[in-house]
Amino acid sequence: MIEIKDLHKSYKMGSNSLHVLKGINFSVAEGELVSIMGSSGSGKSTLLNILGMLDEADSGSYTLDGVPIKNLNEKIAARYRNKFLGFIFQSFNLISYKNALDNVALPLYYQGIKRGERVDKAMAYLEKVGLADWAGHLPNELSGGQKQRVAIARALASDPKVLLADEPTGALDSKTSYEVMNLIQEINDEGRTILVVTHEPDIAAMTKRIVNLKDGKIIQDTKVNQVRALENV
């Protein structure tokens, strides 16, 4: 599903340049649930942003579902993001003036789906995350866990190939974190490929494979026995 070869990325900080990713080789098969771990500054978020086409690599190749991702202009990048990827952010990134249902329906709007169908689909995904009763509520009327569940529903709405989660539990307490992880596990159980960036070992342990990043290089890549989040709730 994801194929990365010799990926480099550096940022210019004034006259210095900061080499963040120093040759990443990495692949993810369909249906995997992978966590990318590392201390802050290890380059894990940069890697996720490149995978999410929110940022561009300096060199190296990236293939997503057989499509080579390179030299994208903004327009095509936007289309690929819409078609292939669903994002879950640490700070939820819901649009504050739209209610839960409209937030979930937004990726569908950019797919050009008509309003009626959009609302039906969005409602179905809200039901899936257990928030059907909260469809008309604005984000600031929801708890952190609920907001993240709306964000997950939104990420799922466009039926993407891969879900990318950047510290999805970073802003939540442990109980809510486990509930959210449980939801992510359930979605993975249905066969969807999911990448989770985290620095919390207990969250990483709930995935099926842990990739450890340090100073811009992968130092460890191991399959683990998944801990079901439900057991910890």
Binding site: N49, L54, A78, F87
Partner: protein
């Protein structure tokens, strides 16, 4: 533009950001409102001053004489110059092809007019029949004096509307009645009205021949009034009247032995030249109002641009989210512009309609001398709305375009 989904998205945004929308709209609506009201008042002043002008025929030339101020050919200064019938006849004959209307005027002092128990002091003047048109008077009853009255020295008078109301209070029909002027009976043959108002309507006219004979005027006249045949345009008319004025002045000075550079003996009031000054003034006022109006519009555009900048800045994170969810840069620009154009257009029309209603309903109530019937050219007003909308769109485009080009990762980091 006709994408229904886009419209729904825009309405959604507007509905949920009422304050922002209201503030944008307010600056646009007030800008348009002020501009249209200003233009309306400008037009009202123009109308008002034009009305002031309607008192007399617009191109009337008025000749009167005074006292010489210079010694000339052995004659002392301080002589009073008295115009005679010959002066008038000569001028009328010499310029007969150029003149439209002509009249000399004999003024009767102490013009006490009586009818029954009522009496009043009015300006009583002996005039030629043409004087009706020189004064721009309209007859409401009877007729003006004519050449037959003139030739037969008829003792007839035409009274102003105010004179009629003063003297003939109850018996409404004064035609055929006799009034006494200095004890002499005159038959009323007509009542006139004058757009100049009451002051112009409190005069009494009689044939100049009668006036000179009855009131011992000999062949003296007080003034001469002329209008020239109309010309194709204002410049030609002005040139012709200046030529005529100069000629009459030279001729009078020659006849009465006045120094050519003596300015107090003969005065000629050329209303066309006055009119030119008035129209120049009107143009200045118009320019001024347009200047103020355009500045208002510029202020409005700056206001809209400012608000657009803030809106885009405020929405940076939202734009990042939308881009992460698959919004193309053009759709972001489109969304921001669509909203701003829609809001400015609606607000612009609200401002336009409010100001037009104000002019329509309050305008006619304004009763000062110099403002009459303020109104505005609808096309002009509409154009300004479009200019404002366009300017707002252009002003909104650049920040929107910049926002659309920010990498989503940068936009999402924006707090």
């Amino acid at each position: 533009m006709f994408d229904l989904e886009r419209w729904e998205e825009i309405f959604d945004t507007i509905r949920k950001n009422k304050l922002r929308t209201f503030l944008t709209g307010l600056s646009v609506a007030s800008g348009i409102f002020i501009l249209v009201v200003l233009l309306g008042i400008g037009e009202g002043m123009r109308n008002g001053i034009s009305q002031e002008f309607e008192r007399d025929a617009a191109n009337i030339i008025y000749v009167y004489t005074g006292v010489t101020s210079k010694e000339y050919k052995g004659l002392n200064p301080g002589r009073r110059i008295q115009m005679k019938n010959e002066d008038f006849d000569y001028t009328a004959l010499k310029h007969q092809d150029d003149l439209e209307f002509r009249s000399s005027i004999f003024r009767i002092w102490n013009g006490i007019v009586n009818y029954g128990k009522e009496s009043g002091s009015y300006r009583v003047e002996g005039v030629y029949p043409d004087y009706q048109f020189l004064e721009n008077s309209g007859m409401i009853e009877g007729r003006f004096v004519n050449y037959k009255d003139h030739d037969n020295f008829e003792k007839v008078v035409v009274v102003g509307n105010k004179v009629r109301n003063d003297l003939f209070k109850d018996s409404k029909d004064p035609i055929g009645k006799y009034v006494q002027i200095s004890g002499i009976n005159f038959k009323v043959i007509g009542v006139y009205t004058d757009p100049g108002g009451e002051r112009e309507e409190s005069k009494v006219f009689m044939p100049i021949s009668t006036a000179q004979r009855v009131f011992g005027g000999g062949n003296n006249i007080a003034n001469m009034a002329f209008t020239l045949e109309p010309e194709d345009n204002f410049q030609a008319a002005l040139a012709a009247s200046n030529r005529f004025t100069a000629d009459v002045e030279t001729q009078l000075k020659e006849t009465h032995t006045i120094a050519p550079d003596d300015e107090s003996a003969v005065s000629i009031n050329n209303s066309l030249e006055n009119a030119k000054r008035f129209y120049d003034l009107m143009d200045m006022i118009k320019f001024f109002f347009w200047g103020v109006g355009i500045c208002t519009i510029i202020a409005g555009v700056v206001g809209v641009s400012n608000i657009m900048l803030i809106i885009v800045k405020e929405r940076t994170r939202e734009i990042g989210i939308r881009k992460a969810l698959g919004a193309e840069p053009l759709s972001i620009v489109g969304m921001v512009l669509h909203e701003s154009i829609f809001v400015t257009a609606i607000a612009g029309f609200i401002g336009l309609i409010a100001s037009l209603l104000l002019l329509e309903f309050v305008g006619p109530l304004i009763e000062t001398q110099y403002i009459a019937n303020p109104a505005v050219n609808f096309n002009v007003a509409l154009t300004t709305v479009f200019i404002l909308v366009l300017a707002g769109a252009i002003a909104g485009f650049f920040p929107a375009w910049r926002a659309a080009r920010i990498k989503p990762i940068v936009a999402l980091r924006d707090e």
